[in-house]
């Protein structure tokens, strides 16, 4: 099973043979090799379950030894032992099976981790000892004569050939598994790469959208500030007319004072009113001037704010542009990562 560790690396211990080796290719190779060398073979996973069909199995094994439960169990035990030797040494191991045939087990590794075993053999290196085979036939409950006939048909070769055959299977199967493992790693990495870039791309798009938002808000802010300036100019216009009203009032008060003076004693009371009017007009004028000072300060402050706002706007626009550039670069890289990913996954 292809499993990833929390850091994104492949979990080697979870890997199975079918994850790294194309079983159909292995079967073809195994069949042809078995036929060519006249040596039986089968590939099992790390639990001992066959993943290929047996190639060139002998009648001795298929029709007799495996035909009873006792024989089958002995075979399984024998295979297990051979497999364990191979797994321990990480090298092909050659041994004599429970029935007396020569077998080998070649480990299939990823790094130093066992993912399966190629079992093979079912040959002899010397003429069979009939008595021994008769004994085995009785023990596992098969026909003695048939069993002896069958063992006589078993291919006879020498140990050197068996060792070479085991070595070839070992080398080829491990090359396949190593290449498969590398391809799997590449595929995992490129997938992670592609996913990360997609993530970055999405984040950058969000960033880009929010930066456009910031720019728009800044623009609105600038417009509002300019409005404030316009309003304060309007206030000044109004203050001008208040000032001229105050001037007129002063004139009125002065004229009233003149009239009161001319009226002599009779105008004395009116003179007081006239003075009040002049005071009032003076106050109005002074207040208007104070407000004008304030609106002037408002305008100065608004001018400064507009300057700041302009430079902020410029900055945010530059930021938006930069983000967009990064986003478009990222898109290219994401496309590359996707291509890499699909190349790595193309088996």
């Amino acid at each position: 099973m292809i499993k990833k560790l929390s850091n994104g690396d492949l979990d080697v211990t979870a890997l199975e043979i079918k994850d790294v080796i194309d079983i159909k290719l292995l079967q073809t190779f195994q069949d042809n090799f078995a036929t060519g060398m006249n040596i039986a073979s089968v590939t099992v996973d790390k639990d001992g379950t066959p993943v290929t069909n047996p190639s060139s199995y002998t009648s001795f094994c298929m029709d007799f030894t495996h035909s009873t439960k006792a024989g089958d169990d002995r075979c399984a035990l024998s295979h297990k032992k051979g497999g364990e030797d191979a797994a321990r040494t990480l090298r092909p191991s050659i041994y004599t099976c429970h029935a007396g045939l020569i077998d080998f087990a070649a480990p299939i590794l990823v790094g130093e981790h066992l993912i399966g075993t190629i079992l093979g053999g079912q040959v002899l290196t010397s003429a069979p000892n009939e008595a021994k085979f008769r004994k085995t036939a009785n023990e596992i409950g098969v026909n003695e004569e048939g069993y002896v006939d069958a063992v006589k048909k078993v291919y006879m070769t020498n140990e050197k050939n068996i060792t070479a055959a085991a070595e070839v299977l070992y080398i080829v199967a491990n090359s396949l598994s190593q290449a498969g493992y590398e391809r799997l790693k590449l595929s995992t990495m490129s997938q992670t790469l592609s996913e990360n870039f997609s993530q970055i791309s999405a984040t950058m798009e969000e960033l880009s959208a929010s930066s456009v938002n910031v720019t728009n808000n800044q623009q609105n802010l600038s417009d509002e500030i300019i409005n404030v300036k316009k309003l304060s100019i309007e206030i000044n216009t109004i203050l001008d007319s208040i000032k001229s009203i105050a001037d007129e009032t002063k004139m009125l008060g002065l004229n009233a004072a003149i009239e009161a003076a001319r009226a002599g004693d009779a105008g004395r009371g009116f003179g007081v009113v006239a003075t009040e009017i002049r005071t009032l007009s003076q106050n109005s004028k002074e207040t208007a001037i104070k407000i004008m000072d304030l609106t002037k300060k408002i305008q100065e402050s608004v001018d400064k704010t507009i300057d700041t706002s302009h430079s902020t706007l410029e900055t945010t626009e530059q930021q938006s542009a930069a983000i967009q550039e990064v986003t478009s670069n990222l898109m290219e890289v994401t496309t590359l990562a996707d291509e890499l990913n699909s190349m790595a996954n193309n088996k």
Partner: protein, 129 residues
Amino acid sequence: MQILTFLLKDERYAIDITLVNTIENKMPLTPVPNSKKYVIGLISNRGSVIPVINTSLMLDDKDINNIFEKFIIISIGNEKLALAVNEIDDVVEIEEKNIENINNDEDFSIVNVNSNVITLLTYKQLKKI
């Protein structure tokens, strides 16, 4: 007594308020040919045609390019005159004993108002116009 104070440029002057009829904002002048040099035109006010005096020039002020903003309409006997000035200042109550004549000449008087000495235009002086 009460006096009306006014400004010619930055200088303060005063006039006896009983001589004053009214004060007015400046208005267009009608030129008068062959008149005295300090008469700068005529205005129509409350049914009367009144000569306008360049007050600066009348008081020997050298600045003749003064731009007048206000007119003080006064009565000298049966004559009405308009004194063109820069700004009307205030109406002030003074003690008559605070008026001092310069060089024993009653034409020019000065008066002390709130620690400021200002020139007071009197009836006698204005009558000469």
